[in-house]
Symmetry: C2
Subunit: 412 residues, 2 copies
């Protein structure tokens, strides 16, 4: 008998028929003798509709009132699932974030979970019931409804699993798991059986939209095993868990890409202390997240500085940099939105040399020019012209032997 | 400076444009120096959609989970109105039933308000803010969301007005006020300037759909003056208030009709004590509301008993009566769904004789047969064949001088 937190996303509860399908899965897991806590998203499209209303209502809607509006979608689905489960003869009860309670800070629209009291949920489980909890929402210490930001239901599920010391957190979605790369681009993409928290974090933040980054951080911190799987079939999913020795043998686990960024180059700035700080402080103050930063060695006491921001922040960031270009003595500012970031991720990289050079070789072999490079312990990212995205992903996927055949160490 | 509770119904907040229109009215009342509490319904059609979902989810959906689902519509509109008001530079804050709090019993789907703590709302008003409260919902002592039944937002508004000792409760709707009869049937129908609580109660329960009956009971109990008016123009509405001497001069205030009932006759039952109890107890136990009951004098120690129930309860009621017909010794059971109840209502009836006989004369003058008669202090109702509904309403409206000309006592 295990305690399992099951989270179902928007497409999995997109209409009544699908909610009934979810109820069958929940009932099966419950009837197999497990204690089940279900976390639901809103019906797909519903939250977008509500956000659309708030945009009509206000130019800058993010506020206490925004969360009041957009938190209703989950309230609908949890009530409906509880009704269906009861109709099936099971004991089920729905819980809002405020009823659990899931306490957050007061950062409306992107609140962070501060604490969860699992008492009421455990009471429900101990009395033989199924607890159905609204994802994406919490309550601040003053009783105001808060939301956790897009994809926040994943975080709700993992945080509940941590608070309840669950044996497993299952994330049901519309894909069968985490793949070696995007199956839409590379038909040879293979589903991974296991991936480490760190690999998943790199994949999530690099654009693989399976799990919200914050939920993976939570899972890592509290060592919650997370299974990503499809709500539409019974295929085995991907387990996101602590790194084990088996994982280290696999040098590269996946290839990801991100077309959502743009590049800004500050040309020929004097190479002296304080320039980078002067450049990035106003961006930070404007709430603009800078991703990659590359600075080359200097020539004639001048250097070029290039960084990337999300496409949505590009215009604002470009203007800010232009405004301070005189102050920092830059010769020119150049922007480019036609870029893509291609990354290879793998826990085994730590102990394997030659991964980076192989990546560069493969890309240059296809005539793909690398504009920027950035590395971490378990990841290497290259910025290339966006038109090469699909080609780059495919050739790297093949070169690192990630296709449907067996992967061996020798392939590196 | 007055404290005013304004309630806007579903059609008044049916889309963003209309919500902005409501915001303008609220702002005008606020800027005129009044303290404003706004109570909102869900967007028109929204609650029906949610109820539809619950019917798909469960055969008998009414439960804690049902209220969880159908209470979300008001949460959306209050958040949106607060956003619009803030966008206009006003201080506004939305409140759920649980945040006020509005404490109810645990009768899900048709909960009754037990108490309202006005402290938080008054704080908001005293700090110059506008409080926007979700209608239709409350919270039970265990923190479960409850709803007050269809039209419950009227009750929320009146109850809040009572709790806050408001000077006025304005009910904004899609009609301009309370009419002498249905303007769709009788083009001569005239809007009333004033109507007493008791008259309004008779009109509400008899089918005039302007105000929920329970809200009028609340208004009467706490003597809350209620103004019914249109949210689409600035026309003077109808004030529902305590009876005054002026009102008593008007013998008949309005003509109402109700096509929503059916008649069941139990023929030739032995006229002995206990028969009526035996007949009506099982109906009460089945939750069936019996409206009119008529029993004539007996012949040969037998009598006929006729009563009406709502059309929706008719089949169930008929079956129950059939099942016990043997036990009570009835000769036959006859049902008829083709009936309408036509009523004349007026506080002045108390002190005026001859109103009933005039009603009967007028109907018989048109060849309309009266099937049942029932009277109260300020109302006379006749059941007639449904096909005569419009004719009966028109001739009574004219006979009692309710048209657009001046009404005088002499007309009775």
């Amino acid at each position: 008998m295990a305690l399992i937190v099951q989270k179902y996303g928007g497409t999995s509860v997109g209409n009544m028929e699908r909610i009934k399908n979810v109820a069958k899965r929940v009932a099966a897991a419950h009837n197999a003798g497990n204690n089940i806590v279900v976390v639901l998203s809103a019906m797909s499209g519903e939250t977008n509709k509500l956000v659309g209303f708030t945009n009509e209502a206000s130019e800058f809607p993010i506020s206490r009132e925004y969360d009041m509006v957009i938190s209703t979608g989950e309230q609908v689905t949890i009530g409906l699932l509880a009704l269906v489960l009861r109709e099936m003869g099971l004991k089920a009860k729905s819980f809002l974030g405020s009823q659990v309670p899931i306490i957050t800070d007061s950062q409306f629209g992107s609140a962070r979970i501060e604490s969860i009291d699992g008492t009421r949920l455990l009471e429900e489980l101990n009395s033989g019931g199924i607890a159905v909890v609204a994802g994406f929402q919490g309550v601040d210490p003053n009783g105001n409804i808060t939301t956790l930001g897009r994809g926040g239901s994943d975080t709700t599920a993992v945080a509940l699993a941590a608070a309840l010391k669950a044996d497993l957190c299952e994330i049901y979605t519309d894909v069968e798991g985490v793949y070696t790369t995007d199956p839409n681009i590379c038909q040879d993409a293979r589903k991974l059986d296991k991936v480490s928290y760190d690999e998943m974090l790199e994949m999530a933040s690099l654009g693989a939209k399976v799990l919200q980054t914050r939920s993976v951080e939570f899972a890592k911190k509290y060592e919650v095993p997370v299974m990503v799987r499809s709500s539409f079939n019974d295929a085995q999913g991907t387990l996101v868990c602590k790194e084990d020795t088996e994982m280290e043998k696999v040098v590269v686990s996946g290839i990801t890409y991100n077309k959502g960024e743009a590049k800004i180059s500050v040309l020929r700035v004097p190479d002296r202390p304080g320039i980078a700080a002067k450049l990035f402080r106003p961006l930070t103050e404007a709430g603009i997240n800078v991703d990659m930063i590359v600075q080359n060695i200097s020539h004639d006491a001048h250097t070029d500085l290039t960084f990337t921001v999300t496409n949505t922040d590009f215009k604002r960031a470009f203007k800010i940099v232009q405004d301070i270009s005189g102050e920092i003595g830059a010769k020119d500012i150049v922007g480019d939105t036609n870029i893509a970031k291609i990354s290879i991720v793998g826990a085994g990289m730590r102990s394997h040399a030659g991964v980076a050079s192989k990546m560069f070789d493969v890309l240059s072999g296809e005539g793909i020019n690398i504009q920027m490079i950035s590395t971490s312990e378990i990841k290497i990212s290259c910025v290339v012209d966006v038109k090469y995205t699909e080609l780059a992903v495919r050739v790297l996927h093949e070169a690192f032997g990630l296709g449907k055949q067996e992967v061996t160490e020798e392939m590196v």
